[in-house]
Structures are given as C-alpha cells and as structure tokens.
C-alpha cells in the first residue's frame, strides 16, 4: 500500500465518475481511489479530508469549474489530472503550465500513461509547479506576467512569456531565444507553442519562426521582408505571412 497513490475524483456526472473509477481499478494498480465528489464544494471537502496524492478533476461542472476549485485549495500538494470533454480555453491554460489532462471519452492508454508520468515525476521532486503556474496565470489579469512551463528532460523551466524574444522550429523541437541571451531547446513542435502564444502578441512570421512582436525593432522591406529583433537577430518573413504580419502593426 505504501507505493500506491491515493486518488480522488471530482466530476459532476455519475456515469463519468463510475467509468473513471472502473478504469483506475482495472488498469491502474498503482492508484487506489479513496473518494469521489460531484461538485466543487464537495470536491474541496474530500480533498481536505483525504489529502490525496492525485486528483482527477473534471473541468466543466455546474456551480464552479476546476479552476474555481483549485483557487480555493490552500496548498496544492497533490498531482492533478484534468479530465475534460471539450474546452479550448482550458486546454490552452493547461498546456501553458504543462499540466496533465485526459480527454473524454477517456482513453485507457492515456490514463495509464498519465499515471506513469505522475509516478515518475513524484520521484524527481517538485510536484506542484504546474498547478502553481496554472493558478498564477488564471489569476493574473495582466497577460505580461503570465508564465509558461517548458518541460525539460529532468524537470521544468518556468519562464515569463515576456522574456521570450522568439521561437525557432528545429525539427520537432522548438528553440526559445530569451531576453537574457540564453536559448532553450524544448521537445515540442513550434505549432504547439504558436497555439499557446498567439494570444500574447506572438506571430508566426515564417514556417520556422514565431516572434514576440514587442521585441521587433525594425522591418526591412523585401519580397517577404525581414525583421530585426532587439537581440540583433534578423528573421525572415515569408511572403505568405507578410500581410498578416504587417496587419499587426496597424
């Protein structure tokens, strides 16, 4: 029992709770379910009472959603696995904080994978970083202060969105160029980060370039043209993106 992780489920639908419970029981031997709840209110109660290691949290619920619940937890000292049927908005937030989530209808394989990940991460230490950043981002009205969690081989880097000058595609990796002059190579596609960062005045000017508009110092005319960034780097603008790029400066 010592190695097993204590888990709770918060989901408003009975059928969903039952299904997840059944899957955990049958396919995740490292998890033992101690309680479930059908709302934010009851969810908070069982978390307080049971002090779970893992919370399976449905995002969309009546009377407050998953984020409402997390905001009311004093200290998030548990791992979170979000469960959602469909929520574009929520998924962006989750991706920014590199939080775990499973989409409904639940895939058993994904569930197993998520549990595996959590187990391995627990061994490497910091378990609450995703949730902390997630809550910070949700609560921060000023977009400039939002942070992004970049998964590394042995942990995470947390950086302010504001510190990113540009991102460059490198096969299936993305290279981040930061204001302090450092670079970070992340094992995610540029498309993934484009989806997250385009709400923060980032523009994909080229197949392999995503730039932060606030760090553009100069635009040089040409077929597509080029932009010079504050760090002195020059980035090509593709012909296809030129119009969309220039539109942003109007």
């Amino acid at each position: 029992m010592e190695n097993k992780l204590k888990a709770v489920i918060v989901d408003d639908e009975l059928a969903s709770r039952e299904t997840l419970a059944s899957y955990l029981k049958n396919y995740c031997p490292d998890i033992y379910l101690v309680a479930d709840a059908d709302s934010v209110k009851s969810g908070l109660e069982i978390i307080k009472k049971n002090k779970p290691d893992v919370v399976f949290l449905d995002i969309e619920m009546p009377y407050g959603n998953a984020f409402d619940l997390l905001e009311q937890v004093d200290n998030i000292d548990f791992d979170l696995v979000f469960v959602t049927a469909y929520s574009n908005y929520a998924i962006k937030a989750l991706n920014m904080s590199a939080s775990y989530y499973i989409l409904k209808p639940i895939s058993i394989d994904e569930l197993i994978h998520a549990v595996e990940k959590i187990k391995s991460e627990r061994n490497s230490g910091d378990i609450s970083i995703h949730s902390k950043i997630l809550i910070e981002n949700i609560q921060s009205v000023n977009k400039q202060n939002h942070k992004i969690v970049l998964p590394q081989l042995n942990g995470f880097d947390v950086i302010k969105v504001n510190d990113i000058i540009r991102c460059r595609a490198n096969d299936n990796f993305t290279e981040f160029y930061l204001t302090n002059g450092t670079r970070k190579l992340i094992s995610r596609t540029l498309k993934f980060y484009e989806d997250i960062l385009k709400d923060f005045d980032f523009v994909r000017v080229h197949k392999s370039h995503l730039i932060n508009l606030q760090y553009v110092t100069r635009y040089m005319k040409g077929k597509g043209g080029q932009v010079e960034m504050t760090d002195g780097s020059v980035v090509d603008v593709s012909v296809n993106q030129k119009a969309a790029f220039l539109e942003k400066f109007k």
Binding site: A15, Y23, N65, Y89, K104, I106
Partner: protein, 645 residues
C-alpha cells in the same frame, strides 16, 4: 452652357441673314450683267454715263462677291477710259481686271484686258511698258493665240517701235505680220502692212523702198479691182515720189488717186488730193493751175465743214496768189489766219472738254476705288468675322467634345460602378453564404464528447444494449446534422427528428434533472414546410444546460410546434432557474468559457433573413416574470414563403 446657347442663337441669326442675303442677290444677278452691258454700250458714246452704270454694277458685285463680273467691270472701265483717251486710267483698270483674274486663277476672264493693256500704254506714250505688255501677251497668254490677235498685237508692237523711233525693230515686226497675212492670204491685211512698211521706209528716207511696197499694193489692188486700196497705194506712192523730188510722177499718181476718189465719191480723200495737187502746182510755179484746184478744195471743205483741210487749202492758195495778186494773197492769208484761229479755239475747247471729262472720270474712278477699298475693308471685316466664327465654331466643337467626353466618362463610371456594386453585392452574398456555412449547424462539441463519454460509461458498465442504442442514436443524430448542414433550409420533418433524438439523448444523461414533452401540431405540413437546420436545438440545449441542470428539484421542458396566424411558432419552455440566476451562479472562470451556440444562431438568422428576405423572429423571455425563473423561447418562422434553394 448659357454661353453655348447664346452662340447657337448667334449662329442661327447668321444663317438666316446669309440666307436672306443670297435670296436678295438672286434677284439682282441679272441686274449686274445688264448694267455691265449698258456700260459697254455707252463706253464709246458717253463715258460718264458708262461710268455710272459701272459704279452701280460694282456696288452690287461687291455685295455679292461676284468675281467674274468684277473683272468684266474693270475691263469695261479700261475700255471707257481708253475711248475717252484717259489712258492712264485705262491702264489702271485693265491692270486691276488682270490682277483680279489672277487672284481667282481665271486668267481667261482677263484676256481682253491683257490684249488691250499694251495698246493703252502705247496710247499713253508709255512705249516701254507697251512693248513689255505686248511681248508678255504674245509669250504668256496662250499656246495657240488666234492669228487675228497676233496680227493685232504685233501691228501695235511695230507701231510702238515706230513711234519710239526703232525702225529696224518696227520693220522686222511688220514683216512678221506681213508673213502671217500672206500665209492666210489676207489681201487687205497685206496691203495695210505694206503701207506701213512703206511708211517706215519713208521715215528712214528710203522713198525707193517705200515706192516698191506701194507699187506692190497698187498691183494687188488692181488685180482685185479694189479701188479704195488702189487710191491709197497711189496716194502713198505720190508722197514717196514727193520725197524723191519727182513732181511729175508725184502729180500723176496723185491725179490717178483723185480720179479714183472722185469715182468712189470720197470727198475727204478728194479734198486731200486736191490740196496736195495744189501744193505740187505751187511748187512748180504753175499758180494758174493751182488756184482752181485749191478753190475747189475750199468749196469741198466748206461743204464738208472740214476746216483743217480748208486751212491747208487757204494757206496754199495764199501762196499761189503771192506772185500774181498780192491783195488776194493777203485776203486769203487773213482768211487762213481766221480759220487757223478757229481751229485753235476748237482745239482748245476740245482740250478743255477733254480735261473736264478727265477730271470727272478721275472723280468717278476715285469713287470706284473707294468702293473697292470699302470692299477690301468689308472683306477684311468679313474675314475677321469668319475668323471669329471659326473660332467660335472651334470653341463649340471643343465644348461639344468635352461634353461628349464627360458623357462617356460618366457612362463608363456608372457602368463600372454598377459592376462594382454588383460584384460587391455578390461578394457580400458569397461572404454571407460562406459565413452561413461556417455558422451552420454545429453541434456543440461539448454535447458530442459528453455523448461519447456516455457511451463509454455504458461500455465500462458492460451494458452492451444501452451502449449500442445510445451509440446508434448518436450516430443517427450526427448523420442528420451533417446531412442537413449542407442546406440552408431543410424540411421540418428532418428538424423534428433531430430535436426528438437530441431530447432523448440529453434526457438520458440528465434523467434525474428533468422530464420533457415534445408536441407537434397536426395541422402543420411538416414535409413541405422548410426551416433552417439546427434552429431549435441550441435553444433546447440552453434550456437544459443553463436552466434545468441547476434546478434543485426535477424540472420540465416543453417543446411545441404550432401554427400561429401564417407563421410556424416554436416554443421552448423550461422551468429552470432562469437566465438571471444562471448568470449569477457562474464563476468568473466559467463565464470565460461561455457557449457560443446562441450567438451563432443569432448571426445565422440575421444572414438568412437578409439573403432569403425572411422575417424569422426570436423572442426570449422569463417564464416567471416576478422571480425571473424559467425561460420561454418563441421562434416565429413565416409560413407563406415557399423557400427555394
């Protein structure tokens, strides 16, 4: 524009005035030639009268700008002046006629003037000019001048040379004429020229040469029994013999001539002959023979009132009396002086009257010149007017061009704007249709994934039948939605099926939350009636998710389709918590994630109403107005419109 109208008015005026003018002239054209004819008739008889005709004619000519008659008028003026011995005026007028003809390139009209110009100069003792114009006439006038004219001009030319004292040239020219006359066998002409040639010989002190010519003529005259010419030849010969100092021969020739003249009854010629015979006798000191001859001459002179001849006769007679009877000689001389005086006074009178004529003709000429000048002035004014008119015409033309240009531009602009508007409209329509397509019938993804999740639950519970039923229903619903999403309108039946299934599936999920009823009025022809797809479903979804789901106790949902007036009314009633409470309940985090289903349907309806000119109305209100609980949605779809796709 106002200016344009003014110009048109002026032009019309001009047209009318020129028209009336031309009508006027037609009446007077004949008048001109008549006047000119009259002038021609009077040109010899009465210069002043002729001048008056010309003046009158010229006035008309200038009015009508009749160039042909103008030339003729000046030609006649030249003649008038020539006949009244105003040769300088004559030359002036001929030159005028010639230059007018040159101007209009009709030199044939000035033929006579050119022919006579030299003659006039010759008459005016301006020999050099006369010679110049004779020669120019001969060389420049025409290729085949009529012989008569050549003879005329060359004779005059020879005479001019003669007058100028250039006898060699004169003789040569006469000989040219003579050869012409000989070639055409003109006996009279030949004799005339021979007479001239003889005269030249005389003037060059070659009486023998002269006698040769005279004798030639004498023979010719005898051959043709031309008595007059014979007499002439004899008289010429006698004059030549006088030069040769052969009184007997002279006398005999003169006597012959006198005989012939008596025969011809030519008193003047007889008289001359008598005087000449008298002179010969006086020279020969045969006064007794001379006196009766001269007395006969004086009688003849009195008869014919030829005082010149009488003077000549009296003078010779007084000489004849000198040796025999001084008293008679004196009295005769006195008579001679008297006659001579009278001749002089007659000459003076003649000179005076000629001077008078000259002044009056000059005055006339001045008036005509004035006329001419007036005309020139007129011409200039007309030219200016014409220029003005052409300028105005040009202006109008330009204005017209500009107007046409503007009209064309306007036309192009309107056409292109119509096209642009139309294409813009089409573009708008296309955009709207595109927007419609993207807005159309999206089942809320939440619903889809939750539905799938429900299926998953059945699977997890190993409830094969339920899972299968649910999945089948869901598949059917999805298929219908996809199928219908291709159309702007679908039969009401299809929409009813969708609502039926949707209600069934949602109720399955929230069984404990609500019950429902779905009523379709029997009077509705659900097959033929068309409505936009997925019009009703989002409102039902809203009723469940935002109204009924939050309700403590079990709620109730009614969906009703019925005809109201000419509309189909769709009513969705839930007794859930109401819109106000629902919004209050939602946390900040939830509101950010609001469903866009209603917004979608609203923008869809807006476009559908616009594109298909429909008036689909949606009205949302609270069921319980006091507590703001429950919601009624009423959708009115006009029935009478048959929608064509």
């Amino acid at each position: 524009m106002k200016k344009g109208v003014y110009i048109v008015f002026v032009l019309t005026g001009l047209c009318i005035s020129t028209y009336s003018q031309s009508k006027l002239t037609r009446n007077k054209v004949s008048g001109i030639s008549e006047l000119l004819d009259s002038a021609e008739v009077y040109s010899k008889k009465d210069a002043v009268k002729a001048y008056n005709f010309i003046e009158e004619a010229l006035e008309l000519i200038i009015q009508n700008d009749d160039k042909g008659n103008e030339i003729r008028a000046y030609s006649i003026l030249g003649d008038i002046n020539f006949f009244s011995e105003q040769y300088d005026l004559s030359t002036e007028n001929y030159i005028k006629a010639i230059s007018l003809a040159e101007k209009i390139n009709k030199n044939n009209l000035s033929y006579d003037s050119r022919k006579k110009l030299g003659v006039a100069f010759k008459a005016n003792n301006d020999y050099d000019k006369a010679i110049f114009y004779f020669n120019s006439f001969l060389t420049h006038t025409a290729k085949n001048l009529p012989n008569n004219d050549i003879v005329f001009i060359k004779t005059h030319l020879a005479e001019t040379y003669e007058l100028k004292g250039e006898y060699a040239l004169a003789e040569q020219t006469y000989k040219e004429v003579l050869s012409i006359e000989q070639s055409r066998n003109n006996r009279e002409g030949i004799m005339l020229i021979q007479d001239r040639l003889a005269n030249i010989n005389l003037q060059q002190n070659n009486p023998a040469g002269a006698i040769q010519y005279y004798e030639k003529s004498e023979r010719m005259a005898e051959e043709s029994s031309d008595k007059r010419s014979l007499a002439n030849a004899l008289r010429g010969k006698s004059a030549a013999l006088k030069k040769q100092n052969k009184p007997e021969e002279e006398l005999s020739a003169r006597q012959q001539a006198l005989d012939i003249n008596e025969e011809l009854d030519d008193v003047e010629a007889q008289n001359e002959d008598l005087v000449e015979i008298g002179k010969i006798y006086v020279e020969q000191k045969q006064e007794e023979k001379a006196i009766p001859v001269l007395q006969r001459s004086i009688t003849l002179s009195d008869e014919t009132k030829n005082i010149t001849q009488k003077k000549e006769a009296l003078y010779t007679l007084s000489k004849a009396y000198e040796r025999s009877d001084i008293a008679k000689a004196f009295s005769t001389y006195k008579e001679f002086v008297k006659v001579n005086d009278s001749i002089n006074s007659i000459r003076e009178q003649e000179l005076l009257s000629r001077l008078e004529l000259a002044t009056s003709l000059n005055r006339k000429q001045q008036r005509i010149d004035l006329l001419e000048k007036d005309k020139e002035l007129n011409d200039k004014t007309i030219e200016l007017l014409m220029q003005d008119q052409t300028m105005q015409e040009e202006f109008i033309k330009n204005q017209k061009r500009t107007i046409y240009f503007l009209i064309i531009i306007l036309f192009i602009l309107s056409i292109s704007s119509i096209f642009i508007l139309r294409s813009a409209k089409q573009k708008r329509l296309a955009n709207q249709l595109l927007a419609l397509k993207s807005l159309r019938s999206q089942m809320n993804p939440h619903f889809i994934f939750n539905a799938l999740n429900s299926v998953n639950s059945y699977i997890a519970k190993k409830d094969e039948l339920s899972a299968n039923r649910y999945l089948s229903d869901f598949a059917f619903l999805m298929r219908s939605v996809m199928e219908n999403s291709k159309h702007d309108f679908i039969p009401l039946t299809d929409e009813i099926k969708i609502i039926d299934l949707y209600l069934k599936l949602e109720h399955e999920r929230f069984k404990e939350k609500f019950d429902y009823q779905f009523v379709v009025d029997e009077n509705i022809n659900t097959e033929s009636f068309q409505i936009p797809p997925m019009l009703i479903q989002p409102y039902i979804e809203n009723a469940v998710w935002h109204g009924l789901r939050y309700k403590e106790e079990k709620g109730f949902l009614t969906v009703e389709l019925k005809p109201v007036d000419k509309n189909l009314q769709i009513i969705i009633i839930d007794n859930g918590i109401g819109r106000k409470r629902s919004n209050e309940i939602k946390t900040k985090n939830q509101q950010q994630n609001n469903s866009t289903g209603i917004k979608n349907i609203e923008s869809r309806l807006k476009i559908i109403n616009e594109v298909h000119r429909l008036g689909i109305q949606i009205d949302v209100s609270d069921l319980d107005l006091e507590n703001h609980s429950g919601t009624i949605v009423s959708i009115l779809v006009p029935m009478q419109k048959k929608i064509t796709q």
